[in-house]
Assembly symmetry: C2
């Protein structure tokens, strides 16, 4: 089928106004937030499950690569595909039903997580998973990526919040996976196979997500600074031993604070390590006691919501400020056992000095998910090569410590070889073989987001 | 391979003393707790993963049916298999490591859940899922069955507590699935495919399970009685609206109480509906206020642990007492949306009267998981036929209301046809097709717990 014919057929399915085939339009779908590139052949914007079915059936019939996309906020190349039919799901953005008895919401995949939470707030409920891109990232994208976020330390990631979904399979056939029930044991768990499948097994057209009531008393937010990372490790140990589960437990290093002071004119203490922590008011004293006992040089408790927001922005803006220190950056996303976190951070320092690079670190202290930021100069071949090497070294350091090359961003095209390394190293080679066969089972023609992730590993 | 030869080869693998081939020994593995039958050809009791690998490789080589078994406390026929190599996992019962920093335990599959909790208690931790058979049921069995329990209403089921596992696949090859990490996005989620796979995809030889600290203040336990099931429905609504998450939220009907009074000489109020509820002390008053406002005829708060234990036994012994009212019984296990629970219970009453049977009901009110107990006379053909019909009618009523034919007991051989009905009715026929193909992918020779569950549906 030639492109003109394809566009005509898509016009029939979704209407002329919802098919984008100009160079400019296609260009706007050619990048994700990680700057991975691939210009689609044509973009279709379906308004219903039936339209998605027909688009996928068309791709199946003519063996054309196809990929669903929400906001394109993937950081790993999962949401771009050269020459593909790009299915922009954002017209399907309805909240179909908020159920305050069964504590679930039935929702279309194209709504942004923050918009979903605005709707849920009217009912006194919320949906906890909160990737940093929640202002744009869609429900469908977050499920497909198995996304995490800042509140994960308390509430878990997407996999813990999806009850059931409707999926258009690569064959164009549609099916339900899971049930919108608190308990269900009917059949193998295909639902969790879809969560984190990165658009390679099917297109999600609807989901039931668990929701919970908004907490009656908002957590207290505090900032604490330390002279050493060992102290931070000890705080984590003490929290865990005391059974303290923070609502938020972020860490950033001195590079981030310095960048904030220099680039954004802030006046923060340039401590080795800074923690931003949310805890319930009932355990605030116990929490600050631990922080002080472990040698915190400053413990600042936000007096009001405004100050709490300011502290949150230290973490959010820290990343932006750090990135502005170099022409280019790569954001890592590894996960390590909590008792190996200190050791891992020391290894990152060695990797930075060994490769003559600056690698500031930040991340989610409560669940061992670390984001080293590799800064480099992409106009300099040596610097680019050093960054690429450091990127792999950081992942390998995590693998060696029993960690994972991805805590929440996924694999995409970015970490395909490293995925294989991890699974081999952790004696999961047969699992990789099964994953590849599952991909072939779902998608025998190999049309859905091909050449990435498990298939390519 | 003839039986003598098979026994000789198994002797070589696990040692003579761990191969059971006499009629008496095989007979002792021929029933599960649901009275499903099937005498294995031989029983092997491995002591290590390597031995399990070799046993499975032997079964693969000679295409002999094989099945792992823990305590055999399945209620659905999942843990018996005629003529099979039965792999009794209970020699592999070590707690390998309790990690109080990462909050997980590395454990062998053959330990009983209660024994695991006795060990964890020494560290101030516990593992929440608590099937009624927790005094014997093993970690491996509970994972394979995706088991629930009484504390699920607060803590979820097995699927929410498994981090990673070692699995011997039907090919005899061993692999790791998942990672013992709070966050991991490396590859498709095979781990949850194994949870609830009922011994059809592989044999679990080790697992990392999440654990959490024992609560500092035990919940308060109370018993409340009501004149009508509508009142119970309203209590559930009010709890959900108030954001009350009980630690336990059980219901039993008048038949159970009557049986307790008659058979066990108790002196309980014969109310239409009795609830047994655990809540944190901080919300005890809010809870009892709701119960009274919804017309509870009695609200009794346990004064001490002894009384709390007595109230718990009302639920546990109620089932035994009710079963003793008839020569035979079938325990149902369906799950319905919470807002349809009242409607479902009315349907069960109609099914009982329509089939001239007594069907007492009990279950987990907080998550819509109901266990109607179908009482009948297995020496009477008409009564047996009526019970079989009622059994299917109850499941169909659940399916029609958007529920599931199993909340926690699974499918086994008991509900194979009903599984197909549910998936068809809920537009999941393609999912069933994929499940069957996944079974073929894992087990191309069809040797592992064959002829049951997904494969047979």
């Amino acid at each position: 089928v030639d492109k003109e014919e394809l566009v005509r057929k898509l016009d029939e399915i979704v209407g002329k106004e919802n098919v984008l085939s100009s160079d400019v339009d296609r260009e706007s779908y050619s990048r994700d937030m990680g700057e991975f590139e691939g210009t689609p052949g044509v973009v279709a914007r379906p308004g219903s499950e039936q339209e998605v079915e027909r688009i996928v059936a068309l791709a199946d019939q003519h063996t054309i690569p196809i990929l669903a996309r929400g906001a394109g906020s993937s950081l790993t190349g999962a949401a771009v595909l050269k020459g593909a039919i790009m299915v922009d799901m954002r017209r399907m953005a309805n909240v179909i039903h908020v159920d305050t008895i069964n504590w679930h919401v039935r929702v279309q995949p194209g709504i942004a997580l923050d918009d979903l939470n605005i709707e849920l707030k009217k009912y006194g409920f919320f949906f906890p998973p909160d990737p940093a891109s929640s202002y744009i990232c869609t429900v469908g994208g977050a499920i497909a990526e198995g996304s995490g976020g800042l509140r994960c330390v308390k509430y878990g990631t997407m996999k813990d919040w999806v009850l059931s979904m409707r999926v258009v399979l690569p064959s164009g056939r549609v099916t339900t996976m899971g049930e919108p029930l608190a308990k269900n044991r009917a059949g193998y768990d295909l639902l969790h196979l879809m969560v984190g499948s990165e658009g390679t097994l099917g297109i999600i057209t609807e989901a039931y997500l668990k929701i919970i009531p908004l907490p009656q008393n908002p957590d207290k937010r505090l900032l604490a600074t330390f002279d050493s990372w060992d102290a931070v490790g000890n705080v984590i140990f003490d929290f865990k031993k005391a059974g303290i589960v923070p609502g938020l437990f972020e860490f950033i290093d001195k590079d981030h604070i310095r960048a904030l002071n220099e680039k954004l004119g802030q006046n923060l203490e340039e401590a080795e390590a800074t923690l931003i922590i949310d805890v319930e008011e009932a355990i605030l004293t116990r929490t600050t006691d631990i922080l002080r006992a472990r040698g915190s040089t400053e413990v600042r408790v936000a007096k009001d919501q405004e100050e709490a927001d300011t502290l949150y922005e230290v973490r959010a803006n820290g990343l932006l400020a750090v990135k502005s220190l170099a022409p280019a950056s790569m954001v890592e996303d590894v996960s390590v056992p909590l008792d190996r976190l200190g050791e891992f951070l020391r290894k990152v320092k060695l990797i930075a000095s060994g490769n003559k690079l600056m690698i500031p670190v930040m991340g989610h202290a409560g669940d061992g998910n670390v984001h080293p930021i590799i800064l480099y100069d992409n106009s300099d071949k040596d610097s680019s090569a050093a960054a690429a090497k450091a990127f792999e070294d950081v992942c390998r350091a995590a693998i060696e410590l029993g960690g994972s090359i991805s805590g929440e961003h996924g694999i995409g095209t970015q970490k395909v070889g490293l995925l294989r390394e991890q699974l081999r190293s952790h004696d999961a080679e047969e699992s990789l073989r099964l994953m590849k066969e599952i991909k072939r089972l779902f998608d025998p023609k190999g049309i859905m987001n091909p050449g990435k992730y498990v298939e390519a590993a």
